[in-house]
């Protein structure tokens, strides 16, 4: 299952709720303001780093760049994808849930 999260974890509880419901083998894609959860050294970074290794976490590159977030400031386990990669993630997972 693919989860997309588009909210900053500092403003809304959406990301938290997504993490509470994601299962091993799932993928989480951070888009729009959701990409702020991908950054090292924040109040949520520890939780992201400590997540089950079977959970893949991605962030949308164009949304990172727009917000001035460099690849070097990302938590290590985060993979960056472009819109094409977003499409691939949707195709690879049977169902997707948008955490709006």
């Amino acid at each position: 299952m693919l989860h997309t999260v588009n909210k900053s974890p500092f403003e809304k509880t959406t990301f938290d709720s997504c993490l509470n419901h994601a299962r091993p083998g799932d993928a989480i894609l951070l888009i729009e303001d959701g990409v702020y959860a991908a950054v090292k050294g924040t109040a949520v970074a520890e939780r992201v780093a400590a997540l089950n290794g079977d959970l893949s976490i991605y962030a949308l590159g164009p949304d990172l760049s727009a917000r001035g977030i460099k690849d070097t400031s990302l938590i290590e386990r985060i993979s960056v994808v472009d819109y094409g990669g977003f499409v691939d993630l949707v195709a690879e997972h049977d169902v997707s849930q948008a955490w709006l």
């Binding site: 588009n6 729009e32 164009p62 819109y83 094409g84 977003f86 949707v90 195709a91 997707s96």
Partner: protein, 130 residues
Amino acid sequence: MKFGILVNEGPYTHQASDSAYHFTKAALEKGHEIYRVFFYNDGVNNGSRLTVPPQDERNIQNNWTELAEKHDLDLVVCVAAAQRRGILDENEAKRHSKNADNIAPGFRISGLGQLIETGIECDRVVAFGD
């Protein structure tokens, strides 16, 4: 693969419509089929042809209209949500005695059944909203 796209927020306030547009373009470039783009909630506002954004800004409605023309996309605006928010085509305007319509080229107004049908027919449904 057959994709359905759901857009639940209007243009400009939220990034949702932009994200949906870039996703749709990327899916088409990868050879996927876009079965339908369904606009719901405030998303129906993407279908107004009366928006006049500054010239140095993207024109979200035009982007959708042009993409629809190029790829023969089915852009559907939910009728119930559209009526609440003042998005009308010629028929709807006549039916409700309004003196104008504002649906943009490439968009059509139809019922919520079209969203359910999208879920039934598509391999994947991807939603964008707030």
